[in-house]
């Protein structure tokens, strides 16, 4: 699957409270959540992010609260892949479970700049930016299965409930 879009760049330790502040968690509808994604640290994100855009961050992206509203808000805002040096573990599970793919690459995280256009091949983990190409770690097999199945719900339906 190929993704092409603008890069939204963030730093290290971006926590789920800033991805979607708790005061907006009294609803679960993802289109509502998307309206307030990064409201406190980057208010223009919610209105300017477009379908196909790419989020790039540093270390430990998605740390803190387990709120799945965070990857849901990011996905509903249009982001189709998040590239970071590393991810907090609950966010990592949540993102793949809801069908938002994540790629880990220290080089891409450092080499890609905010606002530039980039292209990502999810199958190979190849990322092409303005200043060159980067190779992300391949998506682990089980995560790839989740993405192929269409998220955890479909995976559970086909592998557990059916059997």
């Amino acid at each position: 699957m190929n993704i092409e879009g603008r890069i939204w760049k963030f730093g290290d330790d971006v926590d789920t409270d800033v991805i979607i502040p708790a005061r907006y968690l009294n609803v679960s509808a993802e289109e509502e959540l998307a309206k307030n994604c990064f409201a406190d640290i980057r208010p223009e994100f919610a209105t300017e992010a477009a379908v196909g855009d790419i989020l790039v961050a540093g270390k430990n992206f998605g740390c803190g609260s387990s709120r799945e509203h965070a990857p849901l808000a990011i996905k509903a805002a249009g982001i189709r892949v998040v590239i970071a040096e590393s991810f907090a573990r609950i966010f990592y599970r949540n993102a793949f479970n809801i069908g938002l793919p994540l790629l880990e690459s220290v080089e891409a995280s450092k080499g890609l700049s905010d606002g530039e256009k980039a292209a990502v091949d999810l199958a190979t983990g190849k990322i092409e930016g303005l200043k060159g190409a980067f190779q992300a770690k391949p998506i682990p097999d089980f995560m790839a299965q989740l993405i192929t199945a269409g998220g955890l719900v479909e995976y559970v339906k086909t592998t557990k409930i059916a059997r």
């Binding site: 409270d17 502040p21 679960s28 640290i41 803190g64 387990s66 609950i90 089980f142 955890l152 409930i161």
Partner: protein, 419 residues
């Protein structure tokens, strides 16, 4: 065949003789927990999977604690979803209103978590129950929805970081300071994807509530769980709360650890985590002049009865400084009742405190104590991220209950010796 306690519990729940770090396992779940923020999405997942009933109506626990008493119409709608689901499914353990408190306080209090169990909660602080010798970890709503439907979860077996605490503790230093110091040492991603195991003579000497505080904040170092091997203290705590049988797992002496970190506690002072990361810690002597507007005592980190006793000892015969809003929230209805019986609530009222209901309250900027632009709070909670307790330009400083109480009286961040 050597394994850590975490590996043993995971192996037992995956029906295997042994597991290795990195193994992907399907594990059986003993307790599945969600709250009023995470359950609505989990219920949606459950419905989408399309089974009629939860895997075990005694093992799915729903607690309304985040935005309760319902702060607005939208929150009330969410709790209504939980209530209707709980009724429809005949859940044994659904808690709201006067039966409810902070989830991670009431589950141990009711004896719902036992050593050796595998607990999955749609709340990041589910790791609290590691203090009982259970494997407990937080997940998101979709994972939890799938657990409610199947009773199983896929997990990657984490490598373990063993933290050994030795030396004599300063009397003003406790579990909160040890875990803040540890997070400062490791960083907020220092234990990413890892099991944290707290051990050593200092841990053996800690009372149960302080062990809960330590396990509670394992997630703040990125940990998957934060486990403590059960001992006499654990068994005495459980004996008062449950007659259920359980299996105690212990790590093998020659088990493989990814890292072993020895921490000498002799020099550790009360710790304060500055904005905006829990790892941004300073000893109380290095805090400097930080005037404050609010103090919050409570939460799943420090809402235990003993925490309230610590605060009351400081506040007895004193008052919060003029202009300081002191908010105290007992962790559960039982703790509230005990605090009333012991006279703690009277001490708090005389100190000028607002006593809140047992819930998460302002910890996550939900309600009942939101900060305005430029305001600062000292809180016994677990996170001080940007905007965590209110306005993005507000600040949260994390500390133990004694420092929080002393700071309320002083009007700036300080320890009891400054009073």
């Amino acid at each position: 065949m050597s394994m850590t306690i975490t590996e043993k519990i995971l192996a037992a729940h995956a029906g295997r003789d042994r597991v290795f770090p990195g193994d992907l396992i399907e594990a059986k779940v003993d307790v599945a927990l969600a709250n009023d923020i995470t359950a609505p999405l989990a219920i949606k997942t459950f419905d989408e999977i399309g089974v009629d009933t939860v895997f075990d109506a005694d093992k799915v626990v729903l607690v309304a604690d985040h935005f309760v008493p319902n702060k607005d119409i939208a929150s009330a709608q969410q709790v209504k979803l939980l209530r209707e689901f709980a009724m429809r499914q005949g859940l044994t353990h659904y808690y709201e209103g006067g039966e409810s408190g902070v989830e991670h306080v009431i589950l141990p209090e009711k004896g719902l978590v036992l050593p050796g169990q595998l607990v999955i909660g749609a709340d990041s602080h589910t790791c609290t129950y590691g203090a009982l010798g259970a494997f407990a970890t937080g997940v998101g709503s979709t994972d939890l929805g799938a657990v409610m439907a199947t009773g199983e979860i896929w997990l990657k077996v984490p490598p373990t970081i063993l933290l050994r605490y030795t030396g004599a503790l300063d009397p003003h230093v406790g579990g909160k300071d040890l875990i803040l110091h540890t997070i400062g040492l490791l960083g907020v991603e220092g234990a990413l994807y890892c099991a944290m195991e707290f051990s050593g003579p200092v841990i053996r000497g800690l009372p149960m509530h302080q062990r809960f505080t330590m396990s509670n904040m394992a997630i703040e170092a990125g940990g998957k769980n934060g486990i403590i091997e059960p001992d006499e203290t654990t068994l005495a705590y459980l004996a008062e709360r449950t007659s259920s049988r359980f299996e105690i797992f212990r790590g093998d002496p020659d088990a493989d650890y990814e890292r072993v970190i020895d921490i000498d506690v002799c020099q550790i002072e009360p710790q304060v985590a500055f904005p905006h990361l829990p790892s941004n810690v300073r000893p109380i002597s290095q805090v400097g002049d930080v005037p404050i507007d609010q103090v919050v005592i409570g939460s799943c980190t420090n809402g235990w009865l003993e925490d309230l006793r610590d605060a009351a000892r400081i506040l007895k015969g004193r008052r919060a400084a003029k202009g300081i809003r002191l908010i105290i929230m007992p962790g559960s209805p039982l703790i509230y009742a005990m605090a009333l019986k012991e006279g703690l609530l009277e001490t708090f009222l005389q100190a000028g405190a607002v006593i809140g209901p047992p819930c998460c309250g302002p910890c996550l900027g939900g309600h009942m104590g939101i900060l305005a632009e430029g305001e600062r709070a000292v809180a016994t909670t677990n996170r001080n991220f940007i905007g965590r307790m209110g306005h993005p330009e507000s600040e949260v400083y994390l500390a133990n209950p004694t420092v929080a109480a002393a700071s309320a009286v002083l009007g700036w961040i300080g320890g009891p010796e400054e009073l």
